[in-house]
Each structure stands twice: as C-alpha cells, then as structure tokens.
C-alpha cells in the first residue's frame, strides 16, 4: 500500500502550480453558482413572508412582482452561468484525471490509457456478468484501460439506475449501482461461475456455499456452480484479505468470476478522481481513490496466489 501523505506531497509538488489557475477558476464558478442558488431561495422565502404577513394592497403586490422578476432574472443568469461553468468543470475534470489521476494509476498499473468516448461498450460488459438487477439507465463517466502483472484491466465509473413513472406521472429514480466497475482478464479459467457478494441480488452461480468463517459470512455470501473449486480458491488467507478490504472500503464491493474474467464492483459516494474546491490536491479524495485502486490489485494477487498454491486449474 502506497503511503498517502508522501503521495500527496509528491502530487502537490508536481501539479499544484500547473492546475492552480484553472482550479481557482472552477472553484470560483462553483461558489458563484452556490451563491446564486442561495439568492433564489432567499428571494422565494421573502416573497413567501410578504404573502403571509401582509394582506393585499397595491404596494405589496408591486413588491411581490419585483421579487418574482428578480427570481426569474437570477434563474436565467444561473442557467447561462451553469452552462459555462459546466463546460469549465468538465474541462478541468478531464485535465485533472489525465494528470493527477494518471499519476495515481501509474503507482499500481502499467499502460494507463484514459478514454473519452465509449471505448469498451460498457453496457454490454456490465450485462455480461449476469446480475439479477433491472435497470433502464446506465451512464459512464470514465473509462480507463490498464495492465497489472500482464493482465488487461478495463475500469469504468458507472452510474446505473432504474427510473419508474407511476400512473400520476411521478418519476422515481432508484440508484442500482454507483461506483467502479472493473473487468480483469485473468488469463485462465477457474472453471466455475462464482460470486462473492454482499447482496444475494448480485449472486451468480446456482448454489449458495456455506463458508467456514463466520466473520467472512457476516460480510459476504458466496454463490457458485462448483462448491469444491470455490472452496479451493477461498482459502483462509483469501477470506482474511476480503474481510480486511471490506472493512477498509467505505461502501463495500462485490466480486464475480465468469469464464476467464474477474469482475469487481466497488461502491462509491463520489466519482473516481473527484477534486476538492479548497486545494488542487486534497488528501481525502486521494486516499479514497488509492484505497480502491489498491483493492483491485489485492484481489487479483490473492486470487492468483490461491489458484497456483491450491492447484485450482
């Protein structure tokens, strides 16, 4: 595991100056946007008070009209400003990912390639696992191509949701998954469909495997087509690593094996390579990202070791 304080210093030395001007600009745009929203809310509240505490009268009516006009003007400014600010934020986000993000990725991975468009066909990849969830919206924010110990890795920041509209026309959006979705080309087939998951919904594999570690079972359920193969893979060491990783991961993760592919889903609150508004390099975000990037390598290392040591193939 990389030392976070040291990494933050390193990143600050390298990227503080080149990104500072744009970071300040983005922070400024975001602060103005917040201020405009506060103004709208305040104007609406004032209008509300006028309506409650005064009863009619031409002067009051005119005052209300002025405030309504003010709200409309601020909303128009906010929309225009939001558009410009959105572009700026997008631009900065791309720049930050391509510099700071790339540097962070290169601490663990080789051949880092960050894509803008749909390079991997993320929806097909997500569907290929066979999760028993229904969704009708899937959106990908980042796509990154990596290599780790010769294995090809595809990493995607996904937002998967299910939107329903009731008969009165009310729309409800349920988040199915928000976080990192990773496909690892293992280079070998473990010979069974298997999943190590928090939630039975995500379980692939026909049987539930009863595990011999209560602590492990408190966090994960294992579903598999071949109980013996899965047990060979889930040694005491592998289970211990999973437990530790689960404790460190703020929102949990799930792992599935299909053919020669390993799929990892890491739940997150923020997008990968989020940046703060206070500083160019903020330790909180760096720490969270590095934790998840390390988790992927730790899982791959443990699986590789268990496969070899226990003659799983």
């Amino acid at each position: 595991m990389i030392e976070i304080d040291k990494l933050c210093e390193e990143l600050k030395d390298k990227y503080d100056l080149p990104l500072k001007a744009e970071h300040e600009q983005v922070s400024f745009y975001q602060k103005v946007q917040t201020a405009l929203i506060i103004c709208i809310v305040a104007a609406i509240l004032i209008n509300g008070f006028i309506m409650i505490f005064n009863h009619g009268g031409y002067e009051i009516f005119s005052g209300m009209l002025i405030i309504v006009g003010l709200v409309i003007s601020i909303v128009v400014v906010l929309v225009v400003f939001g558009f410009i600010s959105g572009k700026k934020v997008q631009e900065y986000n791309r720049k930050y990912t391509n510099s700071v993000g790339k540097e962070m990725l290169s601490k663990y991975y080789d051949n880092v390639n960050i894509y803008d468009g749909d390079a991997f066909g993320y929806e097909e990849l997500f569907n290929s696992v066979g999760y028993q969830e229904s969704y009708n919206e899937i959106w990908c924010d980042k796509q990154i191509d990596l290599k780790y110990k010769g294995k090809d890795i595809k990493l995607m920041q996904l937002d998967v949701s299910h939107e329903t509209t009731d008969k009165d026309g009310n729309t409800e959006v349920e988040t199915i998954f928000y976080g990192l979705f990773i496909e690892v080309d293992l280079g070998y087939k473990i010979g069974t469909k298997m999943s190590i998951v928090e939630n039975y919904n995500l379980g692939i594999g026909k049987d539930k495997l009863e595990m011999d570690s209560k602590e492990f079972e408190d966090s994960f359920n294992v579903y598999t087509d071949d109980k013996v193969k899965s047990m060979q893979l889930l040694t005491a060491d592998v289970m211990e690593t999973f437990k530790q990783m689960y404790q460190n991961a703020s929102l949990g993760f799930n792992v599935s094996f299909v053919g020669d592919k390993l799929f990892i889903r890491i739940n997150r609150a923020d997008s990968l390579f989020s940046y703060g508004t206070e500083e160019v390099i903020e330790k909180k975000y760096i720490n969270e990202d590095m934790q998840d990037l390390y988790l992927i390598t730790a899982i791959i290392d443990n699986i590789d070791y268990a496969v070899e040591a226990n003659h799983v193939l």
Binding site: L209, E210, M211, D212, V228, M231, Q232, N310, H311, V312
Partner: protein
Amino acid sequence: MAEYIGFIIPIVIVVIIIISIFIAEKNKFVRYSNDIRNSKSSIDVYLKQRFDLIPNLVEVVKGYAKHEESLFKEVVEARNRYNQTESIKDGVETNNDLNKIIALGEGYPELKANENFLDLQKQLAKMESQLQAARRVYNSEVNTYNNAVMTIPSGWFAKLYGYKQEEYFEAKEEEKVNTEIKL
C-alpha cells in the same frame, strides 16, 4: 352455514399456516441432508482418485525405500478396507498412510529426484487440495445442518422427522501435519 363462515375461515387459515410450516421444515432438512450427501460423495470421489495412485506410488517408492515394506503393506490394506466400507474414517486412515509414503521422499534424495515420483507428487498434491476443499464444504454443511438440529424451534421438527446430528470430517493431528505436500 353463513354464520359459521367468519369462524371457519380463520381456523382454515391457521391450519394452512401450520401445515406450511411443517412442510417447509421438512423440506429444509431434506435439502440439508441432500447437500451433506453430495459433499460426502465428492469426498469419496477425491479419496478414490487419490487411492487409485497408490499402486503406482508404491511401485516407484519400493525401489528406493526397501525398509518401508510394512508401510506399503499397511497402505494397501487400508485402501482395500476403504474400498469395502467406504467409511470416511477408513478413508482418512488410508489418506494418512498415503501421505506418509509421499513424505518418504524427504528422506531419500534419489527418490525425490525421480521423475515418476515427482509427477505422482504433483497429481497427489492437486487431489489433496481438492480433498481439503471438499472436506471444508462438507464440514460447513454439517455445521449448518447441526445448528438447525440443535436449535429451537427447528430442533423440534428435526426430532419429529427423525433427523440426528451428523459427524464432522475431522483430520487426525498426524494427518494434518502430513497433508502439506512440498513440490
């Protein structure tokens, strides 16, 4: 008749619920027993696969470790006994003797370098790993089943349907030491 309907319907519902509980509990124990039986049979498969290599192993080792005649005899007898009884206890004993023969490689450097012996060691190591995994699957399933048999209220149903506690597949201490086969 109509005045009894209000009285009969709740009774019918309660009876259906009670019957459903009895059926669900019965099905649960049937499922657990089937799982245990399946795990037991996969242990049997892995043990037999390992024991099928005993004649070859004895043949290879014999040439180098002539003084171990009694051990060879013992393992062949244990294997025959297991083939007759198919009891897990006999399987464990045979496996234990088999591991002792593999461990002989440590004391005879020429044997350790023999290609046939190395090949057998590799095959046996893979089977041992499968066997250990199958044993863990079996023990975990027995644990779930025994918990159901011993706890209330499922224990009452176990008693009613005649389900008793199952024994764990415990490796002997001596075997535990010998199962790690170095390659």
